[in-house]
Symmetry: C2
Subunit: 199 residues, 2 copies
């Protein structure tokens, strides 16, 4: 016999699909909602269902949205000569929040991983190359993650995009702002030294 | 113009009803569900709705359950002479998980708080006293929180229960197991010293 009734147990189990939520946190969340916030829990259920049913990917950049084209692709005021390639919608959001880029995006939806069966087709690279060949893009900025897989994906793209006579650049690696040298990895410091700027 | 489409924005807002979830965590959760776990998100929505619709309080002990009586009240193998009074269903769960109590429970659903308009009626104290007068309970264990409000609620109950010729006890206060004296509050240490046990 468990302590919770079946429906509460089910809710505690279901809450654990959220990243970073284990059984203890899920239990706390479930009891909080039941005791104090039933209306919000109902609204959450509705919002989840609506989003899962209707949110799909933008036909143009593969960002998440519920319309054919996402709001970024619909925005004609942005710089058509710049295209930034990211791995995930979360990466796109991070770059947008930095307010330093005013071009368009392309979301791969992951990185190349032959072991997991993720090849160029799964990442929409064919569509990306088609788009590049028929667009005004003059520079592609590769903003894949600085991980082994992210670097491999970037290298895979560099040659193919260069062959189209488009400038390709990679976001800079170095010591993060607000970070401390003492806690920065050797790889990062090596990049920071090699790519030093004259003052 | 926000970065997210309206439905994703709504989901991010709705997720913040969960305790401990701010905008950044909610954003991470929403993107995780949309990109990698749509089926679980749908199951979560269903579980939330079912629980909010059907979970109510046990007629006997006021614990959360979807049946008339909760599984603990239905369990006839427990000790009918012991009744433990707790503030919330979460407190009941904590005590059950300690596996040291085999009696029945009564859940107040909060503590006395005249400012917030929470009096004996709201905490079901009338029903509790009725239940005590017509039951085999020989000892009531007060397990309200060791806070000012929890103590006040306990004191309010002590006299009324004693008047019914029922033994009343209060759970012990002291240094928590695994805790360190250095980080234990003065109030707690004062209790620990006063209630010391001869070895």
């Amino acid at each position: 016999m468990t302590i919770f009734s079946p429906l509460i147990d089910e809710m505690i189990c279901a809450l654990q699909c959220l990243p970073g939520v284990g059984s203890k946190t899920a239990q706390r969340m479930a009891l909080h909602l039941l005791e104090r916030n039933r209306q919000s829990a109902r609204a959450l259920a509705k919002a989840l269902t609506a989003a899962m049913d209707k949110v799909t990917t933008c036909l143009h950049c593969r960002n998440l949205c519920e319309t054919e084209l996402c709001s970024l692709c619909q925005d004609t005021s942005r710089d058509k000569s710049l295209l930034c390639i990211v791995e995930t919608p979360a990466d796109l959001v991070s770059i947008e929040q930095a307010c330093s880029f005013n071009g368009y995006y392309f979301v791969l939806g992951g990185h190349l991983s032959p072991i997991e069966g993720i090849g160029p087709e799964e990442l929409g690279i064919t569509r990306l190359l088609e788009r590049l060949s028929s667009s005004e893009v003059k520079e592609v900025i590769l903003a894949t993650n600085p991980t082994v897989e992210g670097e491999a994906t970037a290298f895979f793209l560099i040659d193919q995009i260069k062959a189209m006579n488009i400038v390709v650049s990679r976001i800079a690696h170095g010591v993060p702002v607000g970070g401390e040298l003492e806690y920065t990895s050797s790889d990062t410091l090596a990049y920071a030294l090699e790519d030093r700027k004259s003052c």
